[in-house]
């Protein structure tokens, strides 16, 4: 999460220590600074105060990184943004995307400067010149063939050089040149699409936590890191709301090339997600709870959990603890089962199941 100049400097240091010094050749995908996308959506709705806040945040970061060139670049971008917002009353979807794209664009400029300050040969790669999408503003889908052509041209030049391209996540453009955005979590989608199209080995998704957890640690403090997951498990978990996984991000990996996805923080990339997992790793990976108006449901995700033996094991736990459930659901071809339970008892049941399934020794 990029909040301050210090965070950008840390990213640059980590890129050097974790990737470059170990012989990796990274392509860096950046998000906007924390909170900026929401502020820019406010700006697009006509809230001028939000623009002041965006300006303040990015100028503070630029000043902290400290380069005359950077400060001027950031000022220029902010000036353009101010001019745009001055001339419109209310933005339609296309203009919202255009305004929001400044969050990533400025973040990219700052990241490049932070890397350059470490003598890393970074350069700006414009998402609008390589990520081609359809025209569904706010939730665009990447056009893989068109994007592959544009990406390969750039990649053919940089692949045997020590250049580090930095590209905006979340941003693309239509074939007609109109800026689009890829929806929430779109930066992950940009990263996996680039990796799949260029057939790169690994995608590192850097977050605040060390990986995907077996459940929400705020509810169950004994939650553990999930070391390995398959794409289908990750996708299923994301559908039930697991943090840190964006369902769209798996599409290019499923369709084009199966890069490994490592989720974690700079300290530890604790979760590795790959197309297939060995037989020995089949079984429950994640358990989570969601409330509806009338009841709660608890979803257990993992390849094999909808098989009879696992369902029986879960029911054994339920019955032996005297838990009442309102229903049980599983679908063919889906790696999950769902237990419907009383809302008041939901978290307690979650804890019991978590303990039984994930805390064995």
């Amino acid at each position: 999460m990029l909040r301050s100049g210090k965070d950008y400097i840390e990213v640059a240091e980590k890129v050097r220590d974790v990737f470059l010094d170990r012989g990796f050749r990274p392509i860096i995908v950046v998000s906007a600074s924390k909170g900026v996308t929401d502020l820019l959506i406010q700006v697009a709705k006509g809230h001028r105060g939000a623009l002041d806040e965006v300006e303040r945040r990015y100028m503070d970061i630029a000043l902290e990184i400290g380069s005359a060139k950077l400060i001027r670049r950031v000022e220029e971008e902010l000036k353009k943004l101010r001019r745009i917002t001055k001339s419109i009353e209310e933005a339609d979807a296309a203009l919202v995307d255009y305004i929001v794209s400044y969050g990533e664009r400025i973040s990219k400029i700052i990241t490049v400067q932070a890397l350059e300050n470490m003598n890393i040969h970074a350069f700006e790669l414009d998402a609008c010149s390589v990520i081609i999408t359809n025209d569904v503003h706010g939730d665009a889908v990447i056009d893989y063939p068109a994007t592959a052509v544009a990406l390969e041209k750039v990649y053919s030049v940089i692949k045997d050089r020590n250049y580090v391209p930095v590209i905006e996540g979340f941003i693309g453009r239509t074939p007609n040149g109109i800026v689009t955005t890829l929806g929430r979590g779109g930066s992950d989608y940009t990263a996996t699409a680039i990796a799949a199209l260029l057939k790169l080995d690994k995608v590192f998704l850097v977050t605040d936590v060390e990986g995907v957890m077996t459940t929400d640690p705020d509810l169950v403090p004994t939650a553990k890191l999930v070391r390995y997951m398959s794409y289908v498990e990750a996708l299923e978990a994301s559908m039930y709301g697991t943090k840190g996984i964006n369902p769209k991000a798996f599409e290019p990996l499923e369709k084009i090339f199966s890069s490994k996805v490592l989720i974690g923080s700079w300290r530890l990339f604790g979760t590795t997600i790959s197309r297939d997992i060995p037989e020995s790793l089949r079984g429950p990976k994640v358990i989570m709870i969601k409330d509806t108006v009338d009841y709660s449901y608890i979803a257990i995700v993992g390849e094999g959990v909808s098989e009879a033996k696992f369902v029986r094991d879960v029911l054994d736990i339920v019955i032996s603890r005297g838990i009442e459930i309102k229903g049980l659901q599983s679908h063919i071809h889906r790696p999950s089962i769902v237990l419907y339970v009383d809302k008041e008892q939901g978290v307690d049941i979650l804890k019991i199941l978590h303990k039984a399934l994930f805390e064995k020794g």
């Binding site: 060139k69 670049r73 001019r83 001339s87 203009l95 255009y98 040969h121 700006e124 030049v157």
Partner: protein, 343 residues
Amino acid sequence: MVRIVVVGFGSVGRAFARIVALKKRAIESRYGVTLNVVGIADSKGMALKSDGFSEYELLKLSEVPRSGVNMFSPYAHNFVDLGYMYDHVQPDIHVELTPSSYVDGEPGLSNILFALNRRTHVVTANKAPLVLRYGELMDIAKKNSVQIRFRSTVMGGTPLIDTVMSLRSEDVERIEGILNATTNFILSEMHDKLIDFDEALKRAQVLGIAEADPSLDIEGVDAAAKLVILSHVIGRNIGLNDVRREPLSKIRLRDVVEAIKEGFVIKYMVHLDVQRGDAWVRIVRIPRSDAFAQINGTLNAVRIRTDTGEILFVGKGGGGIETAHSVLDDVIAIALSIEGGRR
């Protein structure tokens, strides 16, 4: 090795620097010519490197702030002096990308004259010098045995100029078309969204399609200038003032609505009748079935009628990337002729 200087470093110049950086090696292996950018100038300063900027340096130059070439240490100079530049880096090709002024053609005109008189080939995306002094510039180029190329000035995304130049035995009788991306985008927006001119213009500005000062586009000067250049290419030589212009700002939403109701669309078109010397830029109603009715957004199109038939060109009108590619095409063409001569 071909030595290039770039004068004017706005969006086209930056796109040019990036493309050279990214395509330099591919061009080397495909055509056997090495393109070396040895100098870049903007309004405030210059960056000079006589053995040529590396690919990475070109990428970084494209990231300097506006008018910030003088920040590109250690190659930066805090002044602009073409004589100094030429003495230091000895260019073979001068790429002229300063903005157009149709009053006196400056600063592009003086820059191009300087280059030609120093026997340096010129590639220009700046239209004004050609519009105002085409014949003179061609004569000086010829006298000094250098080329001046300008493919990017009219429908930069297509080889229109080259094709028209190659029509040596045909007589061009009529040129008509849509030659300005900004105004075509504005009209497309008015038709699609049924919004009035001011709002469509604002949208074009916000999306970076129209300039902050759009007057050259919406008063038809840009389209007229392109028509003038085409007329020179076919040897008809009309002047900018010979082109009658109707400003697009006259258009009202109700005109658009009425046209749609009656099965027409409104386009902002150029027209040159070669025999009669009649040239104009005008708001025109055309039937929905007309080929030009399908040319929307930032697309441009030109139909050229000759004594043997018709040619229709459709392509992207503007945009930094497209224009920069056309400039690079011209640079490669010259580089090939230089290298051929050297061999």
